[in-house]
C-alpha cells in the first residue's frame, strides 16, 4: 500500500479528516523548502510540493508569484528532486509532486516518474493532464509504484467522472470551484452536491482543493463528506507576509497548520 493510501486508512480509523498542505518548492528560495515542509508536516498529513513551471495556467496570482520567484531563485526540477530526497531522509510524510505536463514530458515521462519516486515522491498531480492524455504517466506510475492523482471539477460530466475515478489512485482531487487556485472568502456553493456526487463513484479518498483558505472552509468540505482538504495559496500568503523574518514565517506556518488540522480533525 502506498504511503498516501496508508495515511488515509490511518486517518479513517481515527475518524479524522486529512489536511493536505501545498507549497511551491524553491519559494522563496530552495534552501528554505525542507524547513518549510518539515514545519507544515507537524500538522499536515500529506505535503504537496509544486515544481515551478513558467506558464502555470491553473494557478491564480498567489501561486504564480511564488512560481516566478522560485524560478528566479534558480529552482529546477532537479533542485526539487534533491529537496525531496533531503526531506525523505528524516520524514515519512507522504509527498505529492504537483507540476505541469511539460516539465514531466521534457524530462521523459518514464525517467521523471522513476527518478522522483526513487527520491521519495509518493504521488503526482498534473493539472493540465486530463484522463484522455494520462496513459503514459499512468503506466509509469504503476511501474514505479507511485499514485497518479487526477482532478475532477464542477463541470465534469458523469461520464467523465466515471472514467477519471477508474484511474485515479491515492486520492481524487476535487476542484471546488470554476477557476484558478487562490484564497477565497467563501466556500463555493456547488461544493456540497459535487462532493456527494463524487463520493458515490470514487473508490479512493477524495480531497477538495482550490480556494480552501481557512479553518471554516476545511471544516465545511470535510463535513460535506470529503476525506481531506487541500490548502495552498493561504500558506503561500503567510510566507509572502514574512519574507524578512524566517523564524516568524515558520512559526506562523506552524500555527496556521495546527488550526487547520484541528478543524479537519473535529469535523469528521
Amino acid at each position: 500500500m502506498s504511503r498516501i493510501s496508508a495515511k488515509f486508512e490511518a486517518l479513517r480509523s481515527k475518524r479524522e479528516g486529512a489536511l493536505i498542505a501545498f507549497v511551491t518548492a524553491g519559494y522563496p528560495k530552495p534552501e528554505l523548502t525542507p524547513q518549510i515542509v518539515q514545519t507544515l508536516a507537524r500538522h499536515a498529513d500529506i505535503i504537496e510540493l509544486g515544481i515551478p513551471f513558467s506558464d502555470p495556467i491553473a494557478d491564480g496570482p498567489t501561486i504564480q508569484g511564488a512560481t516566478d520567484r522560485a524560478l528566479k531563485a534558480g529552482t529546477t526540477p532537479e533542485t526539487v528532486r534533491e529537496i525531496i530526497s533531503q526531506i525523505r531522509c528524516t520524514s515519512e510524510v507522504p509527498l505529492v509532486v504537483l507540476t505541469y505536463y511539460n516539465i514531466v514530458f521534457k524530462c521523459g515521462v518514464d525517467k521523471f516518474v522513476r527518478d522522483f519516486t526513487a527520491a521519495g515522491m509518493d504521488g503526482i498531480i498534473i493539472p493540465d493532464l486530463p484522463v484522455e492524455e494520462a496513459g503514459e504517466v499512468l503506466e509509469a506510475t504503476r511501474k514505479y509504484g507511485a499514485d497518479l492523482i487526477l482532478l475532477v471539477a464542477p463541470t465534469t460530466t458523469p461520464e467523465r467522472l466515471k472514467r477519471i475515478c477508474d484511474v485515479s489512485s491515492g486520492f481524487l482531487y476535487v476542484v471546488s470551484l470554476l477557476g484558478v487556485t487562490g484564497a477565497r472568502e467563501q466556500l463555493s456553493e456547488s461544493i456540497k452536491p459535487l462532493i456527494a456526487d463524487v463520493r458515490k463513484i470514487s473508490r479512493v479518498p477524495i480531497a477538495v482543493g482550490f480556494g480552501i483558505s481557512n479553518p471554516e472552509h476545511v471544516k465545511g468540505v470535510i463535513m460535506a463528506g470529503a476525506d481531506g482538504a487541500i490548502v495552498g495559496s493561504a500558506f503561500i500568503n503567510l510566507i509572502n507576509k514574512n519574507l524578512k523574518d524566517q523564524q516568524k514565517m515558520l512559526r506562523e506556518l506552524d500555527q496556521f497548520g495546527k488550526i487547520l488540522k484541528a478543524a479537519a480533525r473535529l469535523a469528521h
Binding site: 513551471f53 513558467s54 506558464d55 502555470p56 495556467i57 491553473a58 491564480g60 504564480q64 516566478d68 524560478l71 529546477t76 526540477p77 532537479e78 505541469y100 505536463y101 511539460n102 516539465i103 514531466v104 514530458f105 521534457k106 524530462c107 493539472p127 493540465d128 493532464l129 486530463p130 484522463v131 484522455e132 492524455e133 494520462a134 496513459g135 503514459e136 499512468l138 503506466e139 487526477l150 482532478l151 475532477v152 471539477a153 464542477p154 463541470t155 465534469t156 460530466t157 467523465r160 477519471i164 476542484v175 470554476l178 477557476g179 484558478v180
Partner: protein
C-alpha cells in the same frame, strides 16, 4: 502501450496536438467539438457565415499581381490581399466563424488573447456585430507597441485587459485567457486566434482560414491557368499559413512558412520554434516550442508582435516532420527591409508579420527565380508605422 485503447487519442496529428488542459475546461472542449461537428456542414450556419464573410468582411479578397516587385526580384509575385479584408487582416475569417459558433451554442461572452492586436480587433468586431460581450487579454509590452489597436478595440466596445505576468506578451495573454475561461466556462467561449491550443481549436481555426486558399486557388487558375510553383506565408501560431496552404496540399506546389528570426537564430532572440524549438506541451497542445532543457518556456523576441510567440500550431509541427512544408526564418532587419520595399514598389504597407514572407523572396531569390509565387499578405501595416519609425530612428 497497453493503455492506448483505454485513452483514445483525440485531435492528434501523428502525435502532435491533443488536449492538455485542466479538467474544468475539458467538457467545454467536448461541447465545442460536438457543436462544430454538427454545424460545419449545417446549411443554415454555412449560409450565414458566407453572407458575413462576403457582405460584411468584404470577401473574396483580391489576388494581385505585384508587377514592380516581380520585376525587382525576378519572379512572378502574386499577393493574396488579406490586408484588404475587414479590420485589415485575415483574422476576421476566424473570428466571424467562431463568434457565430459561440452564438449557435448559446454563449453570451467571448474572450480572446491578442499579440499585435489584430486578432483582438477582429474579435471585438465580430462580437460587436453579433451582440456578444467581449474581453481581450493583451500583454502590457504589446499594448505599448500596438497602442492604436488597443484604442480600436475599446472603440468597438471591448474591454482590453492588461496582462502583467511573465514576459507581458502574447504567451502570457493566452495564459490569462485560459484562466478566465476556466472561471467562466459556462457562459464564455474562448475565441482563440490561431491554429494553436487544445483540440478542436487547431482544426476549427484552420477550417475557418481555409477560405484564403480556396479563393487563391480559384483566382490563380483563372489568371495563370495553372497552379503556382510556390506559396509563402509568415508563421507565428500559423493560421494564415495553414489557411492559404491547405487546399493546395495535394497539389504539386511548394510551401514556405517563414518564422520570426528576430535578431538571428544564433542569438536565441527570436520566435522560431519550428526552426529551432523542440517537442513540448504549451497552451494545451503538443507541438514544437521554445524551451530550456527543463521544459521552462523561453522568452521570445520579434519586431512583430503577432509572431512573438514561443509555440506554433501542432499541424505545422506535423508538416515539418513530414517534410511537406519548408520552414525558414528571416530577421527583424530583413522584415523591416521588406516592409519598406513593398511600400515603395507597390504602394502597399504590409503588416510586419506579412513582411517576413516578402523578405524571404529577397533572401532566397534562387529558390523562386522565374517562378509563379503567391505570398499571403496576411495583414496591413498601418498598425506598425510607429514601430517602423522607431526602428528607422525617425520621430513622427
Amino acid at each position: 502501450m497497453k493503455y492506448v485503447n483505454k485513452f483514445p487519442m483525440k485531435g492528434k496529428f501523428d502525435g502532435f496536438g491533443g488536449q492538455f488542459v485542466p479538467e474544468t475546461i475539458m467538457p467545454a472542449l467536448e461541447e465545442l467539438e460536438a457543436a462544430y461537428k454538427r454545424l460545419k456542414d449545417d446549411s443554415k450556419f454555412k449560409r450565414e457565415l458566407d453572407y458575413y464573410l462576403r457582405e460584411y468582411a468584404g470577401r473574396p479578397t483580391p489576388l494581385y499581381l505585384a508587377k514592380n516587385l516581380s520585376n525587382l526580384v525576378g519572379m512572378k509575385v502574386y499577393l493574396k490581399r488579406e490586408d484588404l479584408a475587414m479590420t485589415g487582416a485575415h483574422k476576421i475569417n476566424n473570428t466571424l466563424g467562431q463568434a457565430l459558433l459561440a452564438k449557435y451554442i448559446g454563449k453570451t461572452r467571448v474572450i480572446a488573447e491578442t499579440g499585435a492586436g489584430q486578432h483582438g480587433v477582429a474579435t471585438a468586431t465580430a462580437a460587436a456585430m453579433l451582440g456578444l460581450k467581449c474581453d481581450v487579454y493583451m500583454g502590457t509590452v504589446d499594448m505599448e507597441r500596438q497602442k492604436l489597436n488597443v484604442f480600436r478595440m475599446r472603440l468597438l466596445g471591448a474591454r482590453v485587459i492588461p496582462v502583467k505576468s511573465g514576459s507581458c506578451t502574447l504567451k502570457d495573454a493566452v495564459n490569462e485567457a485560459i484562466r478566465d475561461w476556466t472561471a467562466n466556462v459556462r457562459t464564455t467561449h474562448y475565441l482563440l486566434g490561431s491554429v494553436v491550443g487544445p483540440h478542436p481549436y487547431p482544426m476549427i481555426v484552420r477550417d475557418f482560414q481555409r477560405v484564403i486558399g480556396k479563393e487563391t486557388k480559384e483566382q490563380i487558375l483563372n489568371v495563370e491557368k495553372r497552379l503556382p510553383d510556390a506559396i509563402v506565408a509568415c508563421v507565428g501560431g500559423g493560421s494564415n499559413a495553414i489557411g492559404i496552404f491547405y487546399d493546395f496540399l495535394d497539389d504539386p506546389v511548394e510551401f514556405y512558412g517563414i518564422e520570426a528570426g528576430g535578431k538571428g537564430l544564433e542569438t536565441g532572440k527570436h520566435a522560431a520554434p519550428l526552426c529551432s524549438g523542440s517537442k513540448g506541451i504549451l497552451h494545451g497542445s503538443h507541438s514544437l516550442v521554445m524551451q530550456d532543457k527543463f521544459g521552462q518556456i523561453l522568452p521570445t523576441h520579434s519586431i512583430s508582435a503577432g509572431l512573438d510567440y514561443p509555440g506554433v500550431g501542432p499541424e505545422h509541427a506535423f508538416m515539418k516532420l513530414r517534410g511537406r512544408i519548408h520552414y525558414d526564418s528571416v530577421t527583424d532587419e530583413e522584415a523591416m527591409g521588406a516592409f519598406k520595399l513593398l511600400s515603395e514598389t507597390e504602394g502597399i504597407l504590409p503588416a510586419l508579420e506579412s513582411a517576413h514572407a516578402i523578405a524571404y523572396l529577397k533572401k532566397m531569390p534562387s529558390k523562386f527565380k522565374g517562378k509563379v509565387v503567391v505570398i499571403n499578405l496576411s495583414g496591413r501595416g498601418d498598425k506598425d508605422v510607429e514601430t517602423a519609425a522607431k526602428e528607422m530612428e525617425v520621430k513622427v
